[in-house]
């Protein structure tokens, strides 16, 4: 997992652009947000969150902002073997990058279902914006690549309720 370098981020001009999907052999099955200390599920997205051009909505309890660590899970399937699979994820606040990662998985087994869970420690007190300010302004962008070809993408807008 590496922090994304700035130049890549600058390429994203319109964050809600529909993305042309290179293959239908890939599907994003579900996403999950949990309080990783208690294991409590805070949000679960069961629909396919990778429908091109669509921004999905997630209503997450405000209390997530007080969690010491949060776990995010993505579950995805691929019909084809992928040789150099990677995920680039960005958490945007309006046009500003709050967090960004890229994770290289490498090989993906044909006809497999896989998951990736990230446990992230909170930035700590004083580093968090209030829920009212964040709500509706946070967009989680997830792009799935095989080598340099984008194979799927997901846009989820977060509301803190």
């Amino acid at each position: 997992m590496e922090p994304i370098e700035q130049p890549i981020i600058n390429k994203v001009t319109n964050t809600e652009d529909p993305i042309e999907i290179a293959t239908h052999d890939f599907s994003l099955n579900w996403m999950l947000l949990k309080d990783s200390e208690t294991g409590k599920v805070l949000w679960e997205g069961k629909e396919d969150m990778s429908i091109p051009g669509q921004v999905h909505i997630a209503e997450v309890p405000k209390s997530i902002l007080e969690c010491k660590s949060v776990s995010r899970t993505l579950n995805f399937s691929s019909k084809r073997a992928l040789t150099n699979f990677r995920i680039v994820q960005r958490v945007m606040f309006q046009d500003q990058l709050l967090e960004g990662w890229s994770f290289k998985f490498g090989f993906v087994i044909p006809n497999s279902t896989n998951s990736w869970e990230q446990v992230i420690e909170a930035a700590g007190e004083g580093h968090m914006l209030p829920a009212e300010m964040l709500s509706g302004n946070v967009l989680i962008q997830t792009d799935f690549y095989d080598e340099n070809t984008i194979i799927s993408a997901s846009r989820v807008r977060i509301f803190y309720v």
Binding site: S71, F103, F105, V108, S112, W116, V119
Partner: protein, 184 residues
């Protein structure tokens, strides 16, 4: 000690990213173990036909645990995941005597892999909560573990379901991941 705690303990280690590879036959309990390591609810686990990766990060340090499905059809793909492994955890179902031979063959295949040379090996003799479980001494003998050379290794009885023995495993990982790094 969960994965986050392990990571905090590893802070003295000079590398910033660690990779743990979790392998074993299907049904050995790898996914349950991975959940146990992260103190999650272990009551519902679906079989893995692919990988489950868990990434934990704390203050710039990252730990990635790779649980790769163990079904016979997908074992040939294991080799795609060997590179850069810091520790290999091998999980055995201690109640599945019929497959002790099969699991030992798979283990020895792994130990012969160049990309896994010198990588410390930790074996969990899992499902010790069941009466049908073979004890760890007998498993070590049946699998001829005393033949393992040129790497740090350890076998530990555990129950991924109840959590017994997991703590000891984490402590061993903590010590041996760091040692390997110093040698480099």
């Amino acid at each position: 000690m969960g994965l986050l705690a392990l990571l905090r303990k590893l802070h003295s280690s000079p590398t910033h990213e660690m990779r743990i590879l979790l392998l074993g036959l299907d049904n050995a309990g790898k996914t349950t173990l991975l959940k146990q390591l992260a103190s999650e609810d272990v009551s519902f686990v679906t079989p893995t036909i692919g990988f489950n990766v868990k990434s934990v990060q704390s203050k710039g340090f990252k730990l990635n645990v790779w649980d790769i499905g163990g079904q016979r059809e997908i074992r040939p793909y294991w080799r795609n995941y060997f590179e850069n492994t810091d520790v290999l955890i091998y999980v055995i179902d201690s109640t599945d005597e019929k497959r002790f031979l099969e699991t030992s063959q798979e283990l020895y295949n792994l130990l012969e892999e160049d990309k896994l040379a010198n990588v410390p090996l930790f074996i969990f003799a899992n499902k010790q909560d069941l009466v049908a479980a073979t004890n760890v001494g007998d498993i070590a003998e049946r699998l001829k573990l005393c033949n393992i050379r040129e790497r740090q290794w350890q076998i530990q009885p555990c129950s991924a379901l109840t959590g017994a023995g997991i703590q000891e495993g984490m402590e061993w990982l903590c010590k041996n991941m760091a040692i390997k790094k110093k040698k480099k």
